[in-house]
Symmetry: C2
Subunit: 258 residues, 2 copies
């Protein structure tokens, strides 16, 4: 039987999951997908994601791959699983890819979006997908700091606490390159604003730590110079608290051909 | 002790409620508000809403009033209750109003919005607040039918099944006046489109029945003439099925001064 390699594009509402990666503490997206695809293929399926998202983080275009000897057309890995998966997980696309495609190692980058609501009282229908930040916030104050983030930097100041030791042990560096670092106000809804970051890779909590610290710049609690100092310090203790999970969306994983 | 009349503006996520009106079958918005305001005022509170929303329908600006002899400033009916209410209900505003203000009888009209997603597969993060309608849909085909709806009509064809008998018994007519009947595509998200209806009053299920039937016009299953015939027939059996609750938002209740 021929071994196939299937690439999936997946969207999920992370609200009720303990993140992407399979674990004992509660339901995960990986576990739900592996279970459902196991039923469809009648094989034990192991999914490899392009990365992990943390508990409560959403995805519009996570990418993963799995190998199988099942012979159905790749499109059968969309409709069939979607009818069985919990409603907060959805497979958007499934295609056969070459054997050397690996969702994580072949990825050239990712795009994340982080959504806020700045009004005094947030409508409950937005609470699961936008962080409430009821402060006078000037996105224009952020542009110099966002410009500073573009390009290649050691992002240790924005890495999850505890990751530093692992980085030192494994030799894995905290250097990453950002291609896009934006703050956009929705012209139709001035109380809605978003950050968007695209880069070749992201450290754990990096987007949420960047966003948390940029909020301090946008509310005049930090100057651009202080933000620059924090980036240069390579020390997580200098940056602001991590922004909540619910505003964060993994929008896209980038590959050579896409 | 002086009797006060307090007007509230309320937003809620209807997903997990059996609608606005107190009932035995499950949790309702009215019940949650009465319970919380009862604790705040130390009185038995009875809330009068501007209308009822059905199970699963959301609100961005429901209006209600209640009377109390409690002496705290009206603003205390915002923050205090919000810290105790379930996260899917939120009081946006509370003000003292004259004794003759009645949320329902003083209302001059309401505005409803209905949101759709037309892409093939809906991102799970939209599933609770947009109805999925994966069809080729031409909003331009709808404009003549929407124009027909403007003004004063007998909307019996779009009233909930079973309401007709009650209408005949009580003599309450199905004549209503619409001030606004629109279909809008979000230019930034072409897969998002919305209906918006404003009128002096709405029959039960009227918006969802109008929307269900207008979808048939937008997908070429009905002509404008056939839509006109359905409106003129004053017969619910002629119109299309009721659209789901999750896409419907009560946006605003209109009063003389607002």
């Amino acid at each position: 039987m021929q071994q196939r390699n299937i690439r999936l594009v997946i969207a999920y509402d992370g609200t009720n999951f303990c993140g992407w990666q399979r674990q004992r503490n509660g339901p995960t997206i990986q576990e739900a997908l592996e279970k459902t695809l196991g039923i469809i293929t009648q094989e034990t399926v192991q999914i490899h994601g392009a990365g992990r998202t943390d508990a409560g983080v959403h995805a519009l275009g996570m990418v993963a791959h799995f190998t199988t000897t099942a012979t159905m057309p790749a499109s059968a890995f969309v409709k069939g699983p979607n009818s069985m998966l919990p409603k907060d997980i959805c497979i958007l696309d499934a295609v056969d890819v070459p054997a050397d495609f690996h969702a994580r190692f072949s990825a050239q980058g990712k795009t994340y979006r982080y959504d806020f609501f700045t009004g005094a009282i947030q409508p409950p229908t937005e609470r699961l997908y936008r962080t409430h930040f009821p402060c006078s916030f000037d996105p224009n104050r952020l542009h110099p700091s966002l410009d500073l983030l573009m390009g290649t930097h050691d992002f240790s100041s924005f890495e999850a606490v505890g990751s530093r030791d692992r980085t030192l042990t494994t030799g894995r560096m905290a250097v990453r390159t950002l291609f896009q670092a934006q703050c956009l106000v929705d012209p139709a809804h001035p109380e809605h604003f978003s950050f968007r970051f695209a880069g070749d890779g992201f450290l754990r909590y990096m987007v949420r730590n960047l966003v948390g610290t940029l909020l301090w710049v946008g509310t005049d609690r930090l100057s651009t110079e202080q933000f620059q100092d924090i980036l240069a310090a390579k020390n997580r203790e200098r940056a602001a608290p991590t922004a909540p999970a619910c505003g964060l969306f993994l929008e896209k994983v980038h590959y050579e051909e896409s």
